[in-house]
């Protein structure tokens, strides 16, 4: 038992590399293959404008998937994404109608509304122990109901503020769309939170074995609640960005983000059962999904073929690297 030693500090490097597990490197390889295949159709697929455009569009999905990833790491899922996104965008624009104060508070207000949805989800999952798949379905329905009432009753304002436009489409650093910058910041914070903080450690712990985490003195309910609130906040923030991008908010803006956000997180190697996954993978997953959708769209494949290809590509990629362990 003399060999009970720990590694030297230098040994952390290979560990980091080892964490770059095959899933993530394969995902990135798939991105490159996609681009090469695309470039056979049109060289424009390799042009900087196109790639930047993709990154910009990917950042909305990226921000939303960040929240989804937190929740998936817990072994939960958030099906209220569509209307959390819409609520974020619509409420931010709504706030903008209230003069200059409203304009400055637009984004925080939109995000806060998303947090309220996340809070309801978190209470349901953590404190009432309702399966997340169903409570989030219900809050999604409630959020939709609220937005319908709101749209019908209050002479809705839905133009994005200048700040929202700037965040989504402006350039603080020349050549780098602000949306990409924001995704980078969100991603950096998420990576830090997941790897370096007690919160992140607890998220992984709960995802792996909630009972043990609880008995280890972790306030598991609070962690779950916070994760859902963050997911709501990030979805709503994604919604405000999306509203900025489109210069306005619309009810259906979140519909096309639910399944892609789940697919992106999982394609990035995060286990849908929770407890395993890294943010780098999610980045890869988001870019993959965005590129795939865009290339299929630009290639003008009919919708039927597009759906089939989309499904098949996801299956094939998962078969390449997303397989569970063999039984023995």
């Amino acid at each position: 038992m003399k060999d009970a030693t720990r590694e030297q500090p230098g040994a952390w490097l290979p560990k980091f590399v080892r964490r770059l597990d095959p899933a993530i490197s394969t995902a990135f390889a798939c991105i490159i293959v996609l681009l090469i295949l695309g470039s056979l159709y049109s060289a424009s697929f390799l042009s900087p404008e196109y790639l930047l455009q993709q990154l910009k569009v990917a950042s909305f999905l990226g921000v939303i998937s960040t929240g989804m990833m937190m929740v998936i790491l817990l072994g939960q899922i958030d099906l209220s994404i569509p209307w959390s996104v819409a609520v974020g965008g619509m409420m931010a624009c709504a706030a903008a109608a209230f003069g200059p104060v409203g304009e400055t508070l637009a984004i925080p207000f939109g995000v806060a509304c998303g947090m309220v949805i996340g809070f309801a989800n978190g209470i349901g999952v953590a404190y009432l122990r309702i399966p997340s798949m169903i409570i989030t379905l219900a809050t999604n329905a409630v959020a939709q109901g609220l937005m319908v009432v709101y749209t019908g009753g209050f002479s809705p304002q839905d133009s994005a503020t200048i700040t929202m436009r700037y965040l989504a489409t402006g350039f603080l650093i020349p050549g780098v769309p602000n949306a990409v910058l924001i995704w980078a910041i969100v991603g950096a914070v998420a990576t830090f939170v997941l790897t370096r903080t007690t919160f992140g450690r607890s998220v992984y712990g709960i995802g792996n074995q909630e009972r043990a985490a609880y008995l280890s003195g972790i306030n598991t309910r609070r962690i779950v609640l916070i994760a859902f609130v963050s997911c709501g906040a990030l979805s709503a923030f994604g919604g405000t960005l999306l509203a900025g991008y489109a210069s306005k908010a619309a009810q259906s803006m979140g519909d096309s983000y639910l399944l892609p956000s789940i697919a992106a997180v999982v394609l990035g190697g995060t286990s849908i059962l929770g407890g395993r996954g890294s943010y780098l993978g999610t980045i890869a997953g988001v870019i993959l999904i965005t590129l795939l959708q865009s290339i299929l769209s630009v290639m003008q494949m009919p919708e039927a073929g597009r759906q089939i290809t989309y499904g098949l590509v996801i299956i094939v990629m998962l078969l390449l690297y997303g397989r569970g362990p063999a039984n023995r």
Binding site: S42, S44, F45, S47, E49, Y50, Q53, Q54, V57, Q144, M147, V148, T151, G152, G153, F154, S155, P156, Q157, D158, S159, T169, L242, Y245, A246, S247, K248, A250, Q251, S252, M253, D255, S256, S294, S297, V298, Q300, P302, E303, A304
Partner: protein, 350 residues
């Protein structure tokens, strides 16, 4: 059971027959006031919400309200069977007329049969029914495509590269409009290179699809979009794509852009199917119940505004929502709602 009669209809300017061979119905006259139901499907977008607001506002107009004992609205979501069941329930509950915005044009055969047996007036609008046995208040979807394509052909006499932003695949509205566009282009005999992308009648989706298309194809000579047009223009602006002729829908935001950038080359034809058509449908239902002659298929006039005729406060409203659909007036039917009446109700109340 309606009697098949010959035209013309009671209010010929409003109840215009779809075509020369359209049948005319004369239902047995019933005594009012009537119980009328509106079976809506999906509700969570501005068009539908606006439509429901219009229906309520129309039913509340004193002369209409006097004829109605009850006006009930139910929205059943995207699920066709739920809408079918809703209509069945209205039939069983003895409503006199049912107005429907059908989720699917072909799925209502059994319901139409039952309504007919029960002597109930069934009026479909917007997404109409594939039938000769119910009244359709019809917008010429294909004609819309034709209109847009003609607009583009007019501005691009030599043909050119066109971006077509399509709607929700698999729906008849999308298919009809698409066919209208392509048949018209083909008829010109010029060379048209049409790039199709899916906008799904949704601004962000249309915007992304357009941005991608511009990034790959660089330059288009003309654009036509079935919806999500504000997003399409936004994508052109973001990508620095020069403004080109555009045939599109009637969103307020789109028209704002059209007015603003007309000088730079954004020559628009904005036409479509305003949500106010629900009022025409209700009016038709009441007329039918009163025993007046109505066409089986009513042809609604398109609300068309083309460059350079965009007038602020009439064709578009700068301080109203971008998502709001302009085109609330069917003057021939005596239906004239202003934007404020529909979307600004509570503002006035305040």
């Amino acid at each position: 059971e309606p009697e098949i009669v010959s035209g013309p209809a009671a209010e010929p300017e409003c109840f215009a027959p779809w075509s020369a061979d359209t049948k005319f119905f004369k239902f047995p006259k019933k005594d009012g006031p009537y119980r009328i139901a509106l079976a809506n499907g999906y509700i969570a977008n501005t068009w539908r919400i606006q439509m429901i607001q219009t229906a309520k506002a129309y039913a509340a107009q004193p002369d209409v309200a006097a004829k109605l004992k009850e006006f009930k609205v139910v929205s059943t979501g995207e699920d066709v069977p739920a809408q079918i069941s809703a209509i069945n329930n209205f039939i069983d509950s003895g409503y006199d007329a049912i107005v429907v915005n059908a989720q699917n044009p072909t799925a209502f055969g059994p319901v139409i049969k039952r309504a007919k047996e029960a002597g109930i007036v069934l009026v479909a609008f917007d997404n109409i029914l594939d039938t000769q046995d119910a009244i359709n208040v019809n917008v010429d979807q294909k004609g819309l495509g034709v209109l847009w394509a003609n607009w583009l052909a007019k501005h691009l006499p030599e043909g050119g590269k066109i971006l077509e932003v399509r709607g929700v695949p698999g729906t008849s509205v999308d298919t009809d409009r698409h066919n209208g566009i392509h048949e018209t282009f083909a008829a010109t005999g010029k060379k048209w290179d049409v790039v199709e992308v899916l906008g799904k009648w949704d601004d962000p989706t249309a915007q992304k699809a357009t941005a991608d298309a511009i990034a790959v194809h660089k330059k288009f000579d003309g654009i036509t979009a079935q919806g999500g047009d504000t997003g399409v223009v936004q994508a052109m602006i973001d990508a620095g794509h020069p403004f080109v002729p555009f045939g599109g829908e009637t969103e307020n935001g789109f028209r704002k852009f059209c007015a603003k950038y007309a000088a730079q080359g954004l020559k628009c034809s904005s036409a479509g199917t305003g949500p106010a058509q629900v009022a025409v449908a209700i009016k038709t239902a009441i007329a039918a119940l009163e025993g007046q002659v109505v066409p089986q298929s009513v042809k609604l006039p398109l609300a068309i505004v083309e460059d350079p005729n965009f007038k602020e406060g009439q064709d578009f409203y700068p301080d109203q929502s971008d998502n709001f659909f302009v085109g609330n007036a069917f003057p021939t039917c005596g239906i004239n709602f202003t934007a404020q009446e529909i979307m600004g109700q509570s503002k006035e109340n305040q």
